[in-house]
Amino acid sequence: MICFENSDWIKKQQEYAESIAREMIRPQARYYDEYEHEIPWDFANYIWKTARHKLDSLRPDSDIPGERFMLQVHTNEMMGWGDLGLYLCLPWQALGGNFIRVIGTEEQKQLLMKKFHNAKPTWVCMALTEAHCGSDSSAIRMRAVQDGDSWVLNGEKLFVTTAQMSLVESDGLLVVWATTDPSAGIKGIKAFIVEANTPGVKITKLEKKLGLRASDTAVVIFEDCRIPLKNLLGGPSSTGFKGAMATFDSARPAAAAAGVGVARAVIDFLKEELARNGTKIRYGVPRRLLSAMERDIIDMEAQLRATWLLLLKSAWLIDQGKPNTLESSMCKAKAGEIITRIAQKGIELMGSLGYSRELLLEKWMRDGKVIDLFEGTGQINRLVIARRILGYSSKELK
């Protein structure tokens, strides 16, 4: 039975997430943008001490049949509305943790739970991209060689989100992808869990970025980094990268949701400003009779709703245990496009005020752009969609 309403449980969780976004996140958004690489400890401590026990989407063990992912996208949207940079600083499992939760062995899941019970805020990050390959993840060169009772990791990883917070600022974890056999192509690629303070892993650079300045993005190098054999993600029978692609199907709507939050922040702000200015938006009137301003706002709202509903369907499919590769890429491609367009347009509508760092509009434009880049660029997601609808392999449609 088709239904467009949340359960009471999600509504309550959403209310709580909104209070965090409104009171803990939004007021600090500008500060941590201006002071790049400063760690938002107040925020992290609050999340760890209080929110961690109340917001179910932060819990790696929360076993919520039927609606887990629906909750995830709703809270992500709310956090993204608060601030995308600080959203990425949430001390929680994030993408790396999700991989452990979904494909990890029992022992690995227990390790994740142990970290979750740390006294201090703890992060889990994931390292995939390398200098020569971003979207083409199957081309990674980082090596993992088995030597006695350990794996030895060597290589360099780029764009590792919250690496500094996971490895240096907390006793966290890093999930890293490496090839065990370069001649085997994608089949040789496996994931490994590296704990903070493991010798041989170090951060060599913190990137300076267009946006998301509250969140660290690091270069991590591995030099003869030894980890126990049991740290092969998913154990010896792990299906490796191919099997892990399914996890990206859930990562995409999760990322898209945070982006939708930013887009909503832009629209909410514009509508408040217009109302203060006495400018009315006449909904229900044929478009040709509207002012350009009204048309833009209404178009933004329609695009936002379209994207959000696509995203909810994708989340629902995950919760139903149904395939959602197509829907995930659709909502991600669409989210990247609309946040980019809405934020850029938002500045136009506010004129030079929108360009000022006194307001958050210019920040939302800088932050939001990443949604069209990470977890698969807009183009990669269009490729995924196209291959699905056409029934083409990656060889048939390059």
Binding site: M1, I2, N6, L310, W316
Partner: protein, 363 residues
């Protein structure tokens, strides 16, 4: 709790709508478009589907209960077959559903059984007006009360089957609100003018209509003295048109996809080029998104929640989307897309209508 799974009953109805669309709509759409006349089979065979009869309760001669959602699901499927056929088949809704939603008990008892018989009955509504600044919220056709009757005056356009209809529901400004009036065929002052010539929807006859001091009894006002919930009817109409826009866009998309997979250029299928493949990606993404917006608006209608915002945004989005999708389909077919031997130019002509017309369908 959110769900995107239609009921088994809805799936059966969609399946039946699809069969009709394939068997009767698709096979006759080109011919009907060329002749600018609907195929009689559309209404005959379509009537047996029983969509309207199943929306009307037993007490008024039907055998079911109205659901905007079920209707939207079926409508998308029908419009995927052909838009003119869908509009023609569902034209009686234009009068029957407003009576069902807003009519007095007397109006329901008197009128609804007519639409529950074994054969199709022509019915229509007159909302649009031939003015540049037409706004459905501010109709210039007026209904003035005098001596217990209403006098209707004004010009209407895009009135489906105006010449054929047994009743036309005419909308007019009345005491500061937009209201509906049930006009029987041949009532003095109801002047059906020439058949319109439109870009698309050519097999769906629409007429200009003049109301020249057309005097109607007070009991012919939709909803009686209390009047009707005009916004609800507008919302239902927008939702129906949006569902049709999704159907038309999907037809265009499917044709283009199939073509692109079978058309070879420079040694490979054109679908193997990103410039073509990405157009198809964008088409299916927005089609799916528009469908969700239609479902949401329809679900709200069924839940008796205000759907004003959702229906308006849905039509805005779906209207644009259908033009984009149909245009991309023409583009993918290239020169063939421009030729009437292929259906995509018809899809483009049809799609352009959604953003500029209201009130020509309701579901």
């Amino acid at each position: 709790m959110y769900s995107f799974e239609p009921t088994d009953e809805q799936k059966i109805i969609v399946d039946a709508a699809r069969k009709l669309a394939v068997k009767e709509f698709r096979t006759r759409m080109s011919d009907a478009d060329e002749k600018s006349e609907p195929a009689s089979e559309w209404m005959q065979a379509g009537w047996e589907l029983g969509l309207l009869q199943a929306s009307i309760p037993e007490s008024y001669g039907g055998y079911g209960e109205h659901s905007a959602l079920t209707s939207a699901l079926a409508t998308e499927e029908l419009a995927w077959g052909d838009l003119s056929a869908t509009l023609a088949l569902t034209a009686p809704n234009l009068i029957a559903l407003p009576i069902l939603h807003c009519g007095t008990e007397e109006q329901k008892k008197e009128m609804l059984p007519h639409f529950c018989g074994d054969s199709y009955v022509y019915g229509s509504a007159a909302l649009m007006e031939p003015r540049l600044d037409f706004d459905p919220n501010a109709l210039q056709t007026t209904a003035t009360k005098k001596d217990g009757k209403y006098i209707l005056s004004g010009a209407k356009c895009n009135v489906p089957f105006a010449a054929e209809s047994e009743w036309i529901l005419a909308y007019a400004s009345c005491e500061g609100k937009c209201q509906g009036f049930l006009l029987p065929k041949g009532i003095p002052g109801l002047i059906v003018k020439e058949r319109e010539k439109n870009m698309g929807m050519r097999a769906f006859p629409m007429y200009a209509v003049e109301l020249q001091e057309c005097i109607v009894d007070a009991r012919q006002r939709l909803g009686g003295d209390a009047g009707c919930d005009y916004q609800l009817l507008l919302n239902s109409s927008r939702t129906a048109l949006s569902a049709m826009a999704v159907g038309v866009a999907r037809a265009a998309y499917e044709f283009a996809l199939d073509y692109a997979k079978n058309r070879k250029a420079f040694g490979e299928m054109i679908a193997q080029r990103q410039s073509i493949a990405f157009m198809l990606s964008d088409m299916i993404t927005d089609i799916e998104a528009a469908r969700m917006m239609v479902w949401e608006a329809a679900w709200r209608l069924d839940e008796k929640k205000d759907a004003t915002h959702e229906a308006y945004l849905a039509l805005n989005f779906a209207g644009d989307m259908s033009v984009m999708a149909a245009d991309r389909a023409v583009q993918i077919l290239g020169g063939y897309g421009y030729i009437r031997d292929f259906p995509v130019e018809l899809y483009l002509r049809n799609a352009r209508g959604f953003g500029v017309m209201e009130g020509i369908a309701i579901a």
